[in-house]
Subunit: 422 residues, 2 copies
């Protein structure tokens, strides 16, 4: 993205627990989305421990590159809440007691018929020259500070308090500042693709992915889904939005049916939406994916309209007894074969009396592979009343990756079948 | 936690998409947990855009405070993959083509009967004097570099590749280094609980969760699983390990069968392990969970030893035709009833001829709820040859949360049944 010099932000999340356990720093996710929506890109995000020196170093580092610094956490009443102190040192200002805040805090406890614990008093100390930000939920006020041309906003780490304070006291002012400055506006868009590798898509799109373009297009891959993120920068929001739409149309035109959605819609939502719109029903017969494909199809609300039933036929015996796959076929071709995948799909379609059915059989590993049928080999069949389409795949990775790729590929085959189907 | 000066790490996650959209930087979560488990605390975490200057600045800043720097992302084949270039500039070394890696990459594509896209060639360029880290899943090799006393490890951003490479090529060396250095040692432990809320567990454990303790115990909750993370610090690894074990024994003694595992084992691994050890088999009949329970059971390698088959009987018709649930029963009690859950489990057990079967029926929402049977109401039955145990639940949250809680609760019921079963 072309770097705007006017206003960009960073988020500094403070807390040992953020570095120690599997917690997710949801505050930075929230802030970067909110800030981008008003046209302020977050260009860096930091997680630092409850350590004053680290907080000060990070404030200095972030100040070099950003003019809006958000801190979350470290404003509580325990000894490891050090944001107030670190900010005071960074600003070279003493901490001063704000009596009106102490009174307010005492009132907070009095209303709850509780004595105020002594430790809470530290929450009424603020670096000289800074402003408190009101917290209507808890006792941790925020801090608004200015340092040269930088604006620093410290908010508590408790998400419900942080978001409430951001929406009530910060967002409006930022919007006003942005519109006063006449800073450029941003718009974003997203395109999701399945069925081609990231490298293929990069080769096909060529110059569209160049870094010096506006809109800029970023490419990410996750379990076979290649997502393209479009960010446009313009003088007005409307102009930026139009630039995003034009680029989206251009990319969709080039990639064709590889694009399965724009925006947030998942592959199962898209496949489900097509089934629903075309009033078609589906049944699923899974072996190696073990229920994952059915799970993906049924995670969409309202999927009972098109999803009839599923079988997870893990053993050969169950393929024969539940889905009438002939035992001689399994013996002759093996459970992992195009014949068995086709038979699973065809018989599932017939037994469930649906418009479509999918059959999946493969080797998810880590065991069970051979030279002829290695781990990752998967056959997927999509059957309708009058045809069966079977494809062979060799998926890379470990068990979960192979299973997920197989299920997603099956969803995509269903989607492509439906696109051709009237 | 007391700061150790000898070896500490930071994680630098690279990618515009990490700053722009609602993606969660799971790589840094993974790395900080893995690193802490071998005694290396992560003392800072950064997210930076796909911008060489930002990466270089962050490498410099992080080098001041950490001696082990992990970078993830930016090693792909697109023009915005700039980690190689940034690292070369940071190290003041030119990028050199490594022919053996180019050949390996060409081979990667040849094996898949594909031509290698020209854009992939950049992945064979490495800063002079650095070592490649083998990637067996994709084309993005990692980079291992030394800069004065710092060790820098760059890994791809794709989680499945990153974790595989970390486990295969990095973890062992770090363990060896740590044991050579004789640094103040950490040991960590984890206890996973299911069946009680976080508040219940906090109340029961009381003082054990106090912040001023060593070992310190952190509590997190994820989809009904309450995990307790124990971190002990001592002069020797053995001493730290003993402290962890003592705390683990103490907590396990208090919580009893609520604890389903210590360490990494998931509920499906534990339930599967019990089935396997007791040589029992299982079948699954699901309605509202739509395949999720079968998916969880079969994600464990080797699950074909105990998992026979599954039915996803979404429609009433399929409950009757596939599982012989009597239509009059469905009409009389409704599809979401203890009778139907019991019938699903009992008939699945009989049809599949397994030792156990599970039946799940409920209302996952958002639609389909009523005053008498609200969204979140789920009946779960566990049947064995001679008994059926059915329980009613009311799960909170949205569709996915309800489905996941229901499937996990079913796994836990299977686990508890097996504990009583000889």
């Amino acid at each position: 993205m072309q770097r705007t010099s006017v206003m960009n932000a960073c988020v500094i999340s403070i807390g040992n627990e953020l570095l120690r356990v599997s917690s997710v720093d949801t505050n930075s996710i929230y802030l970067r989305n909110k800030l981008l929506s008003v046209g302020i890109p977050v260009t860096a995000s930091f997680v630092v421990p409850d350590d004053a020196a680290s907080i000060i170093r990070t404030l200095r580092f972030a100040s070099e590159d950003c003019n809006l610094l958000f801190l979350t956490g470290g404003l509580g009443s325990t000894p490891d809440d050090l944001t107030r102190e670190a900010l005071a040192q960074f600003l070279h200002k003493p901490l001063k007691l704000r009596k009106e805040l102490l009174a307010k805090m005492e009132n907070f406890f009095t209303r709850r018929h509780l004595p105020m614990p002594g430790v809470n008093k530290q929450q009424a100390y603020f670096p000289e020259g800074t402003e408190p930000i009101d917290n209507t939920i808890g006792t941790a006020s925020g801090i608004k500070a200015r340092n040269q041309d930088k604006l620093i906003i410290a908010l508590p780490g408790v998400p419900v308090e942080m978001t409430e304070m951001f929406e009530s006291h910060i967002l409006g002012e930022l919007k006003a500042t942005i519109s006063r400055r006449g800073q450029s506006k941003f718009a974003t868009g997203r395109i999701n693709c399945f069925g081609k590798t990231e490298s293929d898509i990069v080769s096909i799109l060529g110059e569209i992915l160049s870094r010096n373009r506006n809109p800029v297009v970023d490419c990410t891959i996750n379990h076979g889904v290649v997502s393209l993120y479009i960010v446009a920068e313009a003088n007005t929001g409307r102009e930026a939005q139009e630039m995003v739409l034009a680029t989206r149309r251009q990319i969709s035109g080039i990639l064709g049916s590889v694009v399965y959605s724009t925006g947030e819609a998942s592959l199962s939502q898209v496949a489900g939406g097509l089934l629903s719109a075309k009033r078609k029903t589906i049944a699923i017969a899974e072996s190696c994916t073990g229920g994952l494909l059915a799970k993906l199809l049924t995670e969409v609300p309202g999927s009972s309209r098109y999803f009839s039933r599923g079988w997870i036929t893990y053993s050969n015996q169950s393929k024969s007894s539940e889905l009438a796959v002939p035992m001689p076929m399994i013996k002759k071709y093996g459970a992992v074969s195009p014949e068995v995948a086709g038979s699973m799909a065809e018989n599932a379609c017939r037994k469930a009396d649906t418009d479509f059915a999918v059959g999946i059989t493969g080797i998810a590993g880590p065991g069970g592979g051979s030279k002829q049928k290695p781990v990752g080999m998967v056959y997927i069949s999509v059957a309708s009343k009058d045809q069966i389409h079977t494809r062979k795949f060799l998926f890379a990775g470990e068990r979960e990756a192979i299973r997920y790729r197989a299920a997603m590929t099956a969803l995509n085959m269903v989607r492509l079948s439906l696109l051709q189907f009237d």
